[in-house]
């Protein structure tokens, strides 16, 4: 049986989306690979883990990433709103550690609408905001067939303009067209 085609991805522009789960970073990197000229990644400066640009290399050119180091989440959200509204950075990614309320979520949506840009919040599990356009739960999967696999499971767990669905996805960096690089596969073991 052919797997269902992916909906809601690439992420809709002029909207803010959310991703959670162990593979949220990879989801963000794959989002960055979708025809974005510049990506702004907002992180809090105290975080001990570092974003490794060579890890981003299979997905997109890390030199188009800008990193904004902020003091706290409020400052990060201000930076994100300003960048979304401006429109010269087409994708803004933020790592959140606390839930945001509806007002903040709406503000981000309005900013993205004004700037015709896309926002993506990487959130801890279960801390989503109601204002988000879509929410994705991304988990890595063990692939018994292929070594060095990038198999993962994307669950669309919130969708304001459609139905929810699950996909098993693999990233194929060898393809030249960014749209072809996401390969939807059948669930493993079937």
């Amino acid at each position: 049986m052919q797997p269902k085609p992916l909906i809601c991805f690439p992420l809709a522009t002029s909207r803010v989306h959310e991703a959670c789960g162990a593979n949220a970073f990879k989801f963000a990197a794959i989002s960055g690979a979708q025809n974005h000229t510049r990506v702004l990644w907002v992180r809090q400066a105290w975080q001990s883990d570092i974003l490794h640009p060579i890890g981003l290399l299979p997905y997109y050119d890390p030199s188009k990433t800008l990193l904004a180091q902020v003091k706290n989440q409020v400052e990060g959200l201000t930076v994100m709103e300003e960048a979304l509204r401006d429109g010269s950075v087409s994708l803004v990614i933020i790592e959140l550690d606390q839930p945001i309320n509806l007002t903040v979520g709406r503000r981000l949506q309005l900013a993205a609408k004004t700037g015709k840009t896309t926002g993506l919040c990487i959130i801890p599990e279960g801390m989503g905001s109601n204002a988000a356009e879509t929410r994705w739960q991304c988990d890595p999967m063990f692939d018994p067939e292929r070594a060095d696999s990038t198999l993962m499971c994307w669950r669309l767990i919130k969708n304001k303009s459609g139905t929810l669905c699950d996909w098993y996805v693999r990233w194929d960096a060898t393809k030249s067209n960014p749209a072809d690089r996401i390969v939807v596969v059948s669930p493993p073991g079937e």
Binding site: D49, H52, V79
Partner: protein, 417 residues
């Protein structure tokens, strides 16, 4: 205290600026002196003696010990400053004649040779035949002698005053509305930017001082992501700073100064991308005003096998992108500070606990050996060599583990996700 030639030079330049109160022609003399051409300005202080006294007095009050020589030429002034008395001599020729030959700014070798000939003072030298001296020591010695006695003239090269980019505007009535202040700033900016554009420079840091009627001064600093001299682009960037100003009873003077300027050569504009690039630079400036321009960074490749050092983060406003990324082996997206796990032997453990999760190794690829860089002392690499393994767990997580053979232990260093 170690010598700091750069700071000394800076101090000398400051002193040079101060010395222009005596005459407009002030030049640097070597690394530790100033030359002033006071022709025509001595009468402003009475006479030469009064001027010297004034200099001594002011410098002494500032705690600076100086030696000042006043001469008929640059050479004689140098000689008197280095070897003579500090007060102004009555008879220049006799004062000069009594000085040693070293006062002529000659080489050490020539000085020693003259001493051996018994020519110890400048007076001895002037009394000697010139032709044999020229034959023996070359024209240099006689040139120096003539410069000291004033026969040969010598110029002083005054330094050019550094350009100063500041404009100001006073109002007949105090203003207080944001729109009024912005209108004032616009006028100042247009004038300042004309000046900047004329010199081919762009402002990097601007300071706007707003003087209030109660003599209090408010300041707005603007740091730009790129050197600019376009008034219409700088003006909107001031908006946020001006909104925070407390106008009190009103503002009666605006002063705009470009504190830091950079060369901004004229560039060919590109019809495709220059608009979005300008917009992006303005965004950087606005974000920089919020979180600091240094905190917006870009990744640049660096030549190292150590994962943490294979890239550098440079402030985006002060660097240009470089996409010469090379990678032989895949690297994780996230790197953690190494987190120890239990495991023994040089093969990855089949089961391990990490972050309260029990994980089973499904497939392990490796090892990739990375040796520490011995030329860099790095605390984290004290444990020696590392054998890196890419471990795919049955639970799905793909981790980057390493084993330290010289100091057995297993650590998780990153995650491929």
């Amino acid at each position: 205290m170690p010598a700091n030639p750069k700071a000394d030079q800076g101090f000398l330049l400051a002193l040079r600026r101060w010395a222009t109160r005596y005459c407009p022609w002030v030049g640097l003399e070597g690394a530790d002196g100033l030359t002033l051409d006071i022709t025509g300005s001595a009468h402003l202080f009475g006479d030469e003696t009064a001027m010297l006294a004034d200099m001594h007095h002011r410098l002494k009050r500032a705690g600076i010990a100086v030696r000042i020589g006043l001469g008929i030429s640059r050479g004689s002034a140098w000689a008197l400053a280095h070897y003579g008395t500090t007060s102004a001599p009555n008879d220049m020729q006799t004062a000069l004649a009594a000085l040693p030959v070293a006062a002529l700014r000659i080489e050490r070798k020539t000085d020693v040779a003259l001493q051996r000939l018994g020519l110890r003072t400048i007076g001895d030298l002037t009394a000697t035949e010139r032709a044999p001296l020229a034959r023996r020591f070359g024209p240099e010695l006689l040139l120096r002698l003539d410069q000291a006695t004033g026969v040969q003239s010598e110029d002083i090269n005054p330094l050019k005053a550094p350009p100063h980019y500041a404009v100001r505007m006073s109002f007949p009535e105090p203003i207080g509305l944001c729109a009024d202040v912005m209108a004032g700033v616009e006028r100042l900016l247009v004038k300042l930017c004309e000046q900047l554009a004329l010199d081919g420079v762009g402002a990097r840091t601007l300071l706007l001082s707003l003087r209030r009627v109660d003599r209090d001064t408010q300041e707005v600093e603007l740091r730009l992501a790129r050197a600019l001299h376009d008034a219409h682009r700088i003006l909107p960037l001031f908006q946020r700073g001006i909104d925070t100003v407390d106008a009190g009873f009103g503002i009666d003077q605006l002063r705009l100064m470009a504190i830091q300027v950079e060369k901004q050569p004229v560039q060919q504009i590109n019809h495709v991308s220059s608009g979005s690039k300008d917009q992006f630079d303005d965004l950087l400036t606005r974000l920089g005003a919020r979180i600091g321009l240094e905190n917006i960074q870009r990744f640049l490749p660096a030549d190292s096998h150590i994962p943490e050092r294979s890239f550098i983060r440079a402030p985006a406003a002060f660097s240009s992108p470089n996409d010469a990324w090379t990678h032989a082996q895949p690297r994780p997206i996230r790197l953690f500070p190494p987190e120890p796990i239990t495991g023994d032997g040089s093969q990855p453990p089949p089961r391990f606990r990490w972050r309260r999760m029990t994980l089973t190794t499904g497939r392990a690829t490796g090892p990739e050996r990375i040796a520490p860089e011995w030329w860099m002392a790095d605390e984290n690499w004290r444990s020696g060599l590392r054998d890196y393994w890419r471990v795919e767990t049955q639970q799905g997580r793909r981790l980057w583990l390493f084993y330290t053979p010289q100091n057995p232990g297993w650590f998780v260093h990153g995650e491929f996700a």
